[in-house]
């Protein structure tokens, strides 16, 4: 059986990739995908520990995370469509009008 630490390492890598994606990319869709990546890395940790401890708590939490993520995407995509309608771009750097 594959040791839990492997999963945790993979999860950390995925999370780091997600963070880097959020910080470095400018395309709003990519940003969302990176956020999804981070959420799923967390899911991976839940599931890994669930398997190790033989309980279902972690797996139930994953379902919650997935629903929240789906809801978030629905809201997020709506925002992106609106931004696109007003700016003709989905580059997040263009949506910087709240600058002080």
């Amino acid at each position: 059986m594959i040791p839990t630490s492997y999963y945790l390492a993979l999860s950390a890598i995925l999370f780091a990739i997600g963070v880097a994606g959020v910080l470095l990319r400018r395309n709003a869709i990519i940003l969302f995908m990176s956020i999804e990546l981070m959420l799923n890395s967390a899911n991976l940790v839940f599931v890994a520990y669930s398997r190790q401890f033989g309980t279902l708590d972690g797996q139930i939490m994953v379902f919650f995370v997935m629903t929240v993520a789906a809801a978030e995407v629905a809201v997020g995509l709506a925002l992106i469509v609106t931004i696109y309608n007003s700016k003709a771009s989905i580059d997040v750097d263009d949506a910087s009008t709240l600058k002080g």
Binding site: V22, L23, R26, L98, G100
Partner: protein
């Protein structure tokens, strides 16, 4: 029946309130009826009290009305005292008061302040009844001040008349101020009583002095002398009598009621009420007796030389009050009260008759359109036939005053003289003899100036057109005169020497009130002197009547410059004006101009307070506020702005990744802290 006693106050109060509120809209007749009626109702209640006392074995009764002052040990209720002394005064005040009210309806006819006059008159009756019905010295003082204010209001009733249209107002002020001096003495006496006794109820105070005769004689002397100061103010004795002649500026019914019959006797009533204190202070008694006798003589001499018909009566009143005060000083309280009552009858009669004369003359003056003084006896003469009723009652009043047998004044004056003789000759006190001589002289002078007045007013030929046209007054004025004339004739009957009705009546109030036996010699001497004096008066004035209103007094050939001295009232007013009044005015001016204006206003206020305030305000507003506090808060605001612009604003880039980086760094920090711990 004693329960009815508060009604004697309530009736006049009702009358005065009705006239005060509705009087303006009521007819003169109705106003007069309300005022006189309320006074008459009070009279009826007073008479009922006489019977109530008779039913009660003449024991004093107190009727509680309300609590007034309760502080610590001090308890002063509104409580009315019904004893023989107070009932005597109640009957007198309301009885004479009612007659004068009725008379005033006629006298004040057509006056533009008719209703107000009767409001004041009723208020006076209320206050006088408070005074005589009081059960403690402070309530008595309330009445005392109340009648004082009524006197002031009524002297100045025609405030727009007199010298410079101010004379009457000045007379009112003079009366008020002079009375204030007396009140000061009275108040101090009350304070001292309270200090010594701890109560102001008559029973407590008087018993205290009766029971502690030896220990408190010094205190009693001081208190009684201070009470004498109060009595001298209210009853117009030396040295405070100067206000009473000027008080004649008031309407004549006022002179009759307040300044002859009732209010001025308040001092005598108060001293009679305080008799037990006087009884243990021989020095005070002597002072009172001599002061009264001196006043009697001095005022009599002044009356000799006056031309104003009311002024003669005013000085005569002072003189007669002197008789009463002397009697109180001699311990002859019954004689004092007796003379007080008879004097109230005949002096009210004389004043009202004088008012009738003045009214008649003024009536004549309207016809002749002549500007002159209707009170100057030089403008009168020959009124005997024109005013028959007035003439006859005037003669009765004058004879009663002169002490002619068997009129009221004879009995009462004779009793005082008999008492003086008793104290002087039988008990052997030098002051008794002095008082007797002074009073006998005063009685002689009284008879003389009354003769002079009657001849000048009624005999001879009229010396002015107004006197020529004078007419008798309507019955509303003459009927009260007749009533008073009857009282002046039979008034002596209340205390005939063989019965001592008044004496035994008053004895129930204080055991040592008693009358004196009839002294035939004294009576013959005084009657003889009075008759002689009247005959001399007839010779002087009737043999050579005044021809015109500018002719000199026939007495001038006898008295010479002395007459001028008497005419100018011994220059007492001038003396007071030169000493007290000028000094007082100088002090007042000094205080007003030097102390108040120059020192307080110019120096203290303007220089010190205002300037230092201005300087302090300048420092506070300039250096402290503007450059200190203001700068600080300005700087604070600027620095907040700078921080915001230079530091916080650049942080707000608008780039999502910057915020995301911030969130991530925050998470890393939180996790780092958790891990380290």
């Amino acid at each position: 029946m004693f329960d009815l006693v508060p009604l004697i106050l309530l009736f006049p109060v009702f009358g005065l309130l009705t006239n005060l509120i509705f009087g303006r809209n009521l007819s003169e007749r109705l106003v007069g009826i309300i005022a006189s009626g309320s006074s008459a109702a009070a009279f009826v209640i007073s008479v009922i009290q006489v019977f109530a006392l008779a039913n009660n074995n003449f024991h004093a009764e107190t009727v509680f009305i309300a609590d007034w002052i309760t502080i610590g040990k001090m308890y002063l209720p509104w409580q009315m005292r019904v004893d023989t002394l107070s009932v005597t005064m109640m009957v007198l005040v309301t009885g004479v008061g009612t007659l004068i009210h009725v008379y005033a309806i006629g006298y004040m006819h057509g006056d533009k302040r008719f209703a107000r006059f009767f409001v004041y008159m009723n208020l006076f009756v209320v206050m006088m009844l408070v005074l005589v019905a009081a059960d403690n010295y402070l309530m008595l003082f309330v009445g005392w001040e109340g009648v004082g204010i009524c006197s002031y209001l009524l002297i100045g009733f025609w405030y727009d008349r007199g010298d410079n249209n101010l004379g009457n107002a000045r007379a009112g002020r003079k009366a008020f101020v002079v009375n204030r001096i007396g009140d000061f003495g009275f108040l101090i006496a009350i304070f001292m009583m309270f200090g010594a006794v701890g109560s102001l109820q008559f029973d407590d105070v008087l018993h205290f002095f009766e029971n502690h005769e030896i220990e408190v004689s010094q205190l009693a002397t001081t208190i009684t002398l201070l009470l004498l100061v109060g009595a001298a103010g209210k009853s117009a004795q030396i040295p405070l009598f100067v206000w009473l002649p000027d008080a004649m500026a008031g309407p004549t019914p006022v002179s009759a009621l307040i300044h002859a019959a009732t209010m001025v006797t308040a001092g005598i009533y108060m001293m009679v009420r305080s008799a037990p204190i006087y009884a243990i202070a021989p020095l005070s008694q002597m002072t009172v007796a001599l002061l009264g006798a001196g006043t009697a003589l001095m005022a009599g001499t002044i009356a000799l030389a006056q031309w104003d018909i009311k002024r003669v009566l005013a000085y005569s009143t002072i003189s007669q009050l002197g008789f009463m005060v002397a009697a109180v000083g001699l311990g002859a309280h019954v004689a004092a009260m007796f003379h007080l009552i008879t004097h109230a009858f005949f002096k009210a009669l004389l004043f009202l008759s004088a008012g009738s004369v003045i009214h008649g003359i003024e009536h004549g003056a309207h016809k002749s359109d002549d500007h002159f003084d209707p009170q100057d006896m030089r403008n009168m003469g020959g009124l005997k036939d024109k005013m028959k009723t007035t003439f006859s009652v005037y003669v009765i009043g004058a004879m009663a005053l002169a002490g002619i047998f068997p009129l009221a004044g004879f009995w009462s004056k004779d009793e005082i003289l008999a008492d003086a003789w008793h104290v002087g000759a039988v008990e052997g006190h030098w002051h008794g003899m002095t008082v007797y001589i002074l009073l006998a002289l005063a009685a002689v002078i009284t008879a003389f100036y009354m003769t002079r007045q009657i001849i000048l007013v009624f005999f001879g030929s009229s010396r002015s057109a107004a006197a020529d046209n004078a007419t008798e007054n309507p019955p509303i004025m003459t009927v009260p005169l007749i009533g008073l004339a009857i009282l002046s004739v039979i008034g002596g009957g209340i205390n005939l020497p063989w019965f001592h009705t008044l004496g035994s009546w008053l004895e129930h109030t204080h055991h040592f009130f008693h009358g004196i036996d009839f002294n035939l010699a004294i009576a013959l001497i005084s009657t003889g002197l009075a008759v002689t004096s009247i005959i001399v008066g007839f010779i002087v004035y009737h043999r050579r009547p005044l021809e015109s209103s500018t002719a000199p007094d026939p007495l001038r050939s006898v008295l010479g410059p002395g007459l001028k001295f008497l005419y100018n009232k011994w220059y007492i007013d001038e003396l007071y004006s030169a000493t007290f009044i000028r000094l007082y005015e100088w002090k007042a001016r000094f205080l007003a101009f030097q102390v108040d204006w120059v020192f307080w206003h110019d120096f203290v206020h303007d220089q010190i307070i205002l300037k230092s305030f201005k300087n302090a305000a300048a420092i506070l507003s300039g250096p402290v506020d503007k450059s200190g506090i203001n700068k600080f808060f300005d700087g604070l605001a600027y620095s907040v702005q700078n921080i915001a612009v230079k530091v916080l604003r650049p942080l707000q880039t608008g780039y999502v990744r910057n915020y995301a980086l911030g969130v991530m760094l925050g998470v890393v920090m939180v996790l780092g802290i958790i891990l380290i711990n």
